[in-house]
């Protein structure tokens, strides 16, 4: 490879020898498209005709009045085709796969959003598609499993390890080391071996590019703060990258799960529980024990329920450029509920983490301050989890009735 993809000691490419040539090929293909102005235009064209780019920025007037502080704006990545920012990365990598001449794509998925986006891209571009998904996540994101299968993808349940996102990544790698000649691994977040963190960030940077222009146009100024949830870190890197050179505070919100003190969370950069290590092909902060074994993580949001984090964010954390906070499951449900009621917007459980911190900060800020939240996805996929969280009686009744119909 031309570079090793280090961000002040985080990153790298810790890959088995059998994959070295594949990564070299991928890095070259990525560097080619990065240098090719026509590629970015092609990318934008696909996203504006097949998806809804540029996605709008919405003024959350009612929430602003409610918190009586900073003016709250929301970048609407939920309006992408397939309902999340994942589409940006997937279309980018899909165009790359075409250039590389491969015919099959594989992907891991946690929330199922990346899986659905990949299956959709595969259907459109005519690739065969296999999605690896932890058994636990298949349960909690069942609607997305249905759509992936309808889109023609094979969804393989991962029954090893903790049966969530990290285990799905391991299985995708195991597939790839056998099939790299025909297959590209569409990694869904800004993690993994170089060039993935940089490449996924590059495709997602379209969020930040648009958002910066839009917010200046609407408010005539830069936002004071930008909020994004952080699973692997792709939507956060996407929106943050538009503001790196500006005097804008960037806040990444991780999954606080049952609370940091409970140990049942996925807070790598906002807790003191993580330490530097090497797994899944890269070096970053991992939630691991003193032996280096990965720990079990927890979040109500499958997409944030991950042991590692983008090496680029680990670097930005150490540099103090990005502030990291966490939001508990309960806070997330409350923030989501409020957003639905006040604005008629349904953020994904993942995205709602960013809303939690923005809502904590907004009342303390000046009325002239503008803050921007990245709504990385829409919450429809979470209907089962959310209905459970609300213990919604009407929904329960419906499910029981439906189950009876199937049993009849």
């Amino acid at each position: 490879m031309k570079t090793r993809g280090y961000f002040n000691g985080f990153g790298g490419a810790y890959i088995p020898e059998i994959l070295v040539e594949t990564f070299k090929e991928l890095e070259n293909a990525f560097l080619d498209v990065k240098d090719d102005p026509l590629f970015w235009n092609e990318y934008k064209t696909v996203l504006s005709t097949y998806s809804c780019r540029p996605t709008p920025v919405t003024f959350a007037e009612n929430l602003t009045r409610y918190f009586n502080g900073a003016r709250i704006y929301i970048k609407r990545e939920d309006l992408n085709h397939t309902g999340a920012h994942k589409a940006n990365n997937v279309i980018g990598q899909g165009l790359l796969v075409k250039r590389m001449g491969k015919k099959r794509v594989i992907a891991e998925t946690g929330a199922g959003q990346h899986g659905v986006a990949t299956a959709t891209m595969a259907a459109k571009f005519g690739f065969k598609c296999t999605i690896y998904m932890g058994e636990v996540d298949m349960e909690r994101q069942r609607p997305n499993v249905f759509w992936m299968e309808k889109l023609g993808a094979e969804v393989i349940p991962v029954t090893e390890g903790t049966r969530i996102l990290k285990d799905a990544i391991n299985e995708a790698f195991r597939d790839w080391v056998a099939n790299m000649d025909t297959t590209h691994y569409v990694l869904g977040t800004a993690c993994g071996p170089h060039p993935f963190p940089e490449m996924v960030t590059y495709f997602q940077s379209i969020i930040g590019k648009e958002a910066r222009k839009q917010i200046i146009k609407i408010t005539n100024k830069l936002p004071s703060r930008v909020y994004a949830c952080v699973g692997g870190g792709s939507n956060a890197m996407g929106i943050f990258s538009g503001f790196f050179d500006d005097p804008v505070e960037l806040i990444g919100v991780e999954a606080g799960g049952r609370g940091l003190e409970s140990g049942r969370h996925a807070a790598r950069l906002s807790s003191t529980d993580a330490s530097i290590g090497i797994a899944q092909g890269y070096k970053t902060y991992f939630l691991q024990d003193s032996d280096g074994q990965m720990k079990k993580t927890h979040s109500v949001a499958a997409g944030l329920d991950y042991v590692g984090v983008s090496p680029i964010l680990a670097d930005l954390k150490e540099k103090g450029r990005v502030r990291f906070e966490s939001a508990t499951d309960k806070e997330v449900i409350d923030a989501m509920s409020l957003t639905i009621k006040k604005e008629g917007l349904i953020p994904a459980l993942e995205s709602a983490h960013a809303f939690v911190q923005a809502f904590k900060d907004a009342p303390k800020l000046d009325k002239d301050d503008v803050i921007l939240i990245n709504q990385s996805g829409r919450g429809d996929k979470d209907i089962f989890t959310i209905a459970d969280a609300f213990s919604d009686p009407g929904w329960k009744e419906f499910i029981i009735k439906k189950a009876k119909e199937y049993n009849a």
């Binding site: 088995p16 020898e17 990290k166 195991r174 090497i278 074994q293």
Partner: protein, 262 residues
Amino acid sequence: MLESYIKNRLKEKEILLMTHIVIGYPSFEDSFRIIEEMVKAGVDLMELQIPFSEPMADGPVILSANQKSLAYGTKVAKCMEFAKKVSKTFNIPFLFMSYYNILYKYGLKDFTSFMKDAGIHGAIVPDLPHEEACDYLKAMEACNLNPIMLFSPNTPKDRLKAIASYAKGFIYCVARKGVTGSSTSFSDEFEAYVNRCRKETDLPLAIGFGVKEKRDIDFLRGKADIAIIGTAIIKLIEQKGIEHIKEFIESLTVASTKQNSS
């Protein structure tokens, strides 16, 4: 010296056998008994895998052995002590096999000085290409240990040469694409690969991934120096029991003693 041990041994045997265990699976006591059986059966060297929660290069059988060992409470420190005991008890070279995070978290210098004290000859770290291995290679060098480097069938010539320049003891040639466990069809194409490897190094060549029966070893005889058996023995232990190891290993190596003067 590991390399000279192997070369001397090759004067008497056409092909050597390296076997593998996951430490603490099915239990520490059984791990010890397994090694005892293997040594009795005439195995020439052994890799001791310290289990890791994310064994990316391993297939289902070894993956599951890693997870079960960890689930029973296996700790790295206990694996190290186990390795020390084993290497003081049995008179063949032992190597560690694990993923880089295990060494990194233990501390590279502490890890290598422990190896030296314990008499462990070297290590195999499948997720550590030489570009990322600077600190590891230095620590191994300082303790006079053998970093076993890996070749793969798609490694280009220049890279084989580069890898060989960092390797000591022998080279682990991954027989095919994929993870450990599934079978390998040893063919003419494979022979060409081994020849490519030979051109770039004078170190002995060990072949692993998918070696599982006598037929495979017969094919490798005269081409490779060491045959590596991993998954096949874990399966044997799971299906038949430890007491069958010796018989199995002996059946593999039948006729591998060099026929001197007849």
